[in-house]
């Protein structure tokens, strides 16, 4: 394969080319590193690029392949990892000053599985500080930009992974989703993002934001790639007590099937009406229409408690945040700041000065909210009732899944918004996750798929939700819809930036249009 084209291929295509000996992992990895070098100055999708480590891993896979060792499907396909996952040999900052320069002594289970499966790790992607935000503008190291329009955000918190994949800096990436941080950036950048069933992917080594909601998952350009990556990182991990001890759902098989004949699709009444951009609604309704034409049966379902989901989330999440982030205190690792004008500061004063200097405003806001919600005398009213609403959300899902096999909604209420537009209005920012949060509260899996462009020429995300541990249903329905949409739009959606850069580095082959 000639150089520049390599970055346009899906992971599945690269996998085939690698297996057929048409290219090498070193070649593929170098192509992506080159593209990062030329484009990431503008996009800032990465916080850290590990070219030597990625190339060494690539060469190792090439050697093993040459030696005839059996290798996994994605062996040799490079991957980008959100900088919230611990990586030996690469810094893990969580987008925060408080962890600047910290290099973990251990790998997250997801990272260990990527390495074991032979995926070279290109580097660590940008995110809102500790994954708190919907635009990456809360990253202490500066925002990432959306390859569709660099004046706009790629969404967040996983905007770095989404931007990297959309702009072909990486064929696939790992994100984490606590309230929509994989799916909303997927919607805003025209990529596929999956939040697996809670417990489906190990949380060990993923710096916790809200432990009962966090879940890592794939960020890709195709449904099949997402399934292939999901298969690599999923499955039981004894190091995570909340990991599901059962065989993972057959996601790859489902992604290859893609048949919606007779499938009951539930349109959630509460997700997608008021406040949703007209173009977002138009693309959503169009996609539902395509599914119907393909043989799916569409029903409307109601989940009344979803109206309280956002409020519930903003009690549960900050409460867990306030406790999870207590450990960043300058005593053992990370930043250590000293109070001004204190001769011999006490440990307590150093802790306070460090947390003041090391955390950004959004993190502080959530720590304060959570500390308040857990306080004696307020616990029952806030954290306690939030947990009760959470069980109502789960019950609404149960009832909806009696009527439908999968539920659907727009992923995010708008297309990519401008940098700075919502930065001073936390509530407007929080509303970005209104459709994605219910899945995190109930633990059910969700997938966002690009559903075409809105009236503003920016991508729209289509969300699918399935019952606990039925992640395969998402892949089956999404693969069918993906095929229908490719027909409808005449090929994959490519951000303008891809064209710009390609003119810089040379001609590029026409992306393969799948029929």
């Amino acid at each position: 394969m000639p150089g520049p084209e390599l970055t346009d291929h899906s992971a599945a295509e690269l996998s085939q080319a690698l297996a057929a000996g048409e290219t090498t992992s070193a070649e593929v990895t170098r192509a992506h590193l080159d593209r990062i070098a030329s484009l990431d100055g503008e996009l800032h999708a990465f916080l850290h690029v590990d070219a030597p480590g990625a190339l060494a891993a690539a060469e190792d896979v090439d050697r093993r392949r040459a030696a005839g060792e059996p290798l996994g499907a994605l062996a040799g396909v490079p991957v980008a990892v959100k900088d919230l996952l611990c990586t030996v040999g690469q810094p893990t900052t969580c987008g925060s000053r408080i962890l600047e320069g910290w290099v973990p002594p251990y790998d997250a289970t997801v990272v260990a599985r990527l390495r074991a499966a032979g995926l070279p790790i290109l580097g660590k992607t940008n995110l809102d500080e500790f994954a708190m935000g919907s635009s990456t503008e809360h990253s202490a190291y500066g925002p990432s930009r959306n390859p569709w329009d660099t004046a706009r955000t790629p969404g967040g918190s996983g905007g770095g992974s989404a931007a990297a994949v959309a702009a072909r800096l990486a064929p696939v990436a790992i994100g984490t989703d606590t309230g929509g941080s994989i799916r909303q950036p997927g919607a805003l950048t025209g990529t596929v993002g999956v939040k697996p069933t809670y417990g489906g992917v190990s949380r060990y080594g993923i710096v916790a934001m809200a432990s009962s909601l966090d879940q890592a998952g794939p960020v890709t350009r195709t449904v099949l790639d997402a399934a292939l990556l999901h298969e690599v990182i999923g499955g039981h991990d004894p190091m995570d007590s909340t990991s599901i001890d059962a065989p993972p759902p057959p996601v790859v098989e489902a992604a290859r099937r893609g048949d919606v004949t007779g499938l009951r699709i539930g349109v959630v009444k509460e997700l997608g009406g008021e406040g949703f951009q007209a173009g977002v609604r138009a693309r959503f309704e169009e996609a539902v229409g395509l599914l119907t034409e393909a043989g799916a049966q569409v029903v409307e379902v109601s989940c009344p408690s979803f109206a309280q989901a956002l409020a519930t989330y903003y009690l549960v999440m900050p409460s867990e945040v306030s406790s999870n982030l207590a450990r960043f205190d300058a005593m053992r690792y990370g930043l250590r700041a000293f109070p001004d004008g204190v001769e011999l500061p006490s440990a307590e004063q150093v802790m306070a000065a460090t947390r003041d200097a090391g955390f950004g405003d959004e993190v502080k806001r959530r720590i304060i909210l959570g500390t308040y919600a857990l306080s004696s005398g307020y616990y029952d009213a806030y954290y306690g009732s939030a947990q009760q609403v959470r069980s109502l959300v789960a019950r609404d899902f149960d009832r909806a899944f009696e009527q439908a096999d999968v539920l659907v909604s727009p992923t995010a209420p708008t297309t990519a918004f401008r940098m700075g537009e919502k930065l001073d209005d936390p509530l407007a920012m929080y509303l970005q996750d209104v459709a994605t949060i219910p899945a995190n509260l109930a633990g059910v899996p969700g997938l966002s798929l690009p559903a075409g462009l809105a009236e503003d020429g920016l991508p729209v995300g289509f969300q699918l939700l399935a019952p606990l541990q039925a992640d395969d249903r998402l892949y089956n329905a999404a693969a069918a819809l993906e095929r229908l949409l490719l027909d409808r739009w005449g090929g994959p959606l490519t951000p303008p930036l891809v064209g710009q850069v390609d003119s810089l580095v040379g001609p590029v082959g026409t992306p393969e249009v799948r029929a």
Partner: protein
């Protein structure tokens, strides 16, 4: 708030106006192979920060996994304390900032302890013999220990005034069981002894269960004494103080006495007791204020989302119940009955730490009384001289039983037996080897004995005359003379027979 120094009221006098109510919180460090939530060894000591991993250091991203062996130990302790065992219980996070706590929260249990609603009975000495008191157990719950801070510089060894502090996380994450009593209201003059007996009983119990080494000196058993006073005849509880880390049984007793005196002094002066943490000082037997613990301290407990609930099946709990060893109090009662000891004899035996030694000696063939005699007199004296525990003496219960068997067989007498003890303790071998090597066997050569008897009669004509006149009791003097000549190696009973045969 400034605390006014007021006088102490003598303990006995305080009890004329106030009655104490105690609450005891005992932390037991479990001797599981690994820590509560990770695979690090749960060992005391070690080079600082060598028994640590991402989990017990609380590194970002690390997650806890419950140690099943610790849950098992917790259930067994709960069962031994007659507790109910939760069908489902959760871990909770106790949030507060302290440098020796890696995550700045401690994984503990809050409103869902693994064991609750239990009781145990303790025995203390009253003027009319042993008295028994029931201590109600509110709960026993699981938690992780913190690391240790070493404060360098400054005079107090505490964090305030120190120049710098060193942190050792080897202890962080070692499993702890915290056992909390309900308020204990016993007659005031019994309170110190009841507190001590309770802590002692918990120590014996966890040792019998084999779940902890329960060393107060190493901190693997730590007692907090909560105490309040109320005017005699009233029901409402007074304000309590919490005296932390009282590190010996005797200190438990002294801490109760001191706090009664201190509280009474404050109340007599019309003052108000401050709810606070206090430190106990071993050297003076007094307490001093630690950090003030007001109701404002808010740990913001909430269920730990990283851990699944613990749901011990009833089958498992029943299986554990079936394997509970005989508990120390029951065992003592059974052994006392079997051995026919008086209350006093049994208490002395237990007090000397000799119950197991006597039991093993009896098992090796001795009678209970002779076993008790050797361990509590001859051997206790030697242990005392060497300043070691009885069980640390270099002699086994089997050796003691063998020496007694030699006495019973007439091969040696009690006096020779003491020399055999000397030999065994000096490492000269088994009792039989010592007897042989030291030539301690009783002389049973009748000819030699008869000659010695004749010489004794000849040398003591007055005594011989008395015996001939029927004063048999006088024979003792002649026996003594013969034994002296035979250098103790004669069977006294046989000597007596020979003397009487000659003279009557």
């Amino acid at each position: 708030m400034t605390t006014v120094e007021v006088g102490l009221v003598p303990f006995e006098e305080a009890l004329t106006r106030y009655e104490p109510v105690m609450g005891l919180e005992v932390h037991v460090e479990l001797s599981t192979a690994t820590k509560m939530f990770c695979g690090c060894p749960a060992l005391f000591g070690g080079e600082p920060n060598t028994h640590v991993c991402p989990v017990c250091l609380g590194l970002p991203g690390s997650l806890p996994v419950v140690n099943g062996a610790a849950v098992e130990s917790a259930i067994r302790i709960g069962l031994a304390l007659n507790c109910r065992i939760a069908e489902v219980c959760r871990f909770a996070r106790k949030n507060y900032f302290y440098p020796d706590m890696p995550k700045n929260y401690q994984i503990s249990q809050y409103d869902e302890p693994i064991a609750f609603d239990g009781w145990t009975e303790v025995e203390v000495e009253g003027p009319d013999g042993p008295e028994r008191y029931r201590v109600e157990i509110e709960r026993a719950h699981m938690e992780e220990d913190t690391g240790k801070s070493l404060h360098v510089g400054g005079s107090t060894g505490r964090i305030h005034g120190a120049e710098y502090s060193l942190l050792d996380y080897n202890r962080a994450g070692i499993p702890l069981i915290e056992i909390v009593t309900r308020p204990i209201a016993v007659p005031g003059d019994r309170a110190p002894a009841v507190a001590r007996a309770y802590v002692q009983q918990l120590r014996d119990l966890v040792l019998a269960l084999g779940v902890s080494d329960a060393r107060m000196d190493q901190g693997s058993l730590r007692a907090d004494v909560n105490l309040s006073l109320r005017p005699v005849g009233t029901a409402a509880l007074g304000t309590r103080s919490e005296t932390k880390n009282v590190n010996s049984f005797r200190s438990v007793e002294r801490a109760v006495r001191f706090e009664v005196s201190r509280h009474a002094g404050i109340l007599d002066a019309g003052g108000r007791v401050v709810q606070e943490t206090r430190h106990f000082h071993e050297d003076t037997g007094t307490t001093s204020p630690g950090r003030e613990k007001s109701d404002a301290e808010d740990y913001r407990y909430f269920p730990d989302p990283d851990l699944a609930p613990v749901a011990p099946s009833r089958e498992w709990v029943d299986a554990l119940r079936a394997t509970l060893p005989e508990l120390p109090a029951e065992r003592r009662r059974r052994l006392q009955a079997e051995w026919g000891f008086s209350d006093l004899e049994m208490r002395d035996t237990a007090g000397a730490g000799a119950v197991d030694l006597v039991a093993a000696t009896v098992a090796a063939g001795s009678s209970a009384q002779t076993a008790r005699k050797w361990w509590l007199s001859e051997l206790a004296r030697r242990a005392n001289e060497q300043a070691v525990e009885l069980s640390a003496l270099k002699i086994t219960p089997e050796d003691v039983a063998r020496i007694q068997a030699l006495v019973d067989a007439g091969a040696i007498n009690d006096k020779l037996a003491r020399q055999v003890f000397d030999g065994v303790l000096a490492g000269e071998g088994s009792p039989d080897e010592v007897v042989a090597a030291r030539g301690l066997a009783v002389v049973s050569d009748e000819g030699a004995l008869t000659e010695a008897v004749d010489r004794a009669i000849e040398a003591n004509p007055d005594v011989a005359a008395k015996i001939r006149d029927g004063k048999v009791a006088a024979a003792g003097a002649l026996i003594g003379a013969v034994m002296k000549e035979m250098r103790g190696q004669a069977d006294a009973a046989r000597v007596r027979e020979l003397i009487l045969a000659r003279l009557t």
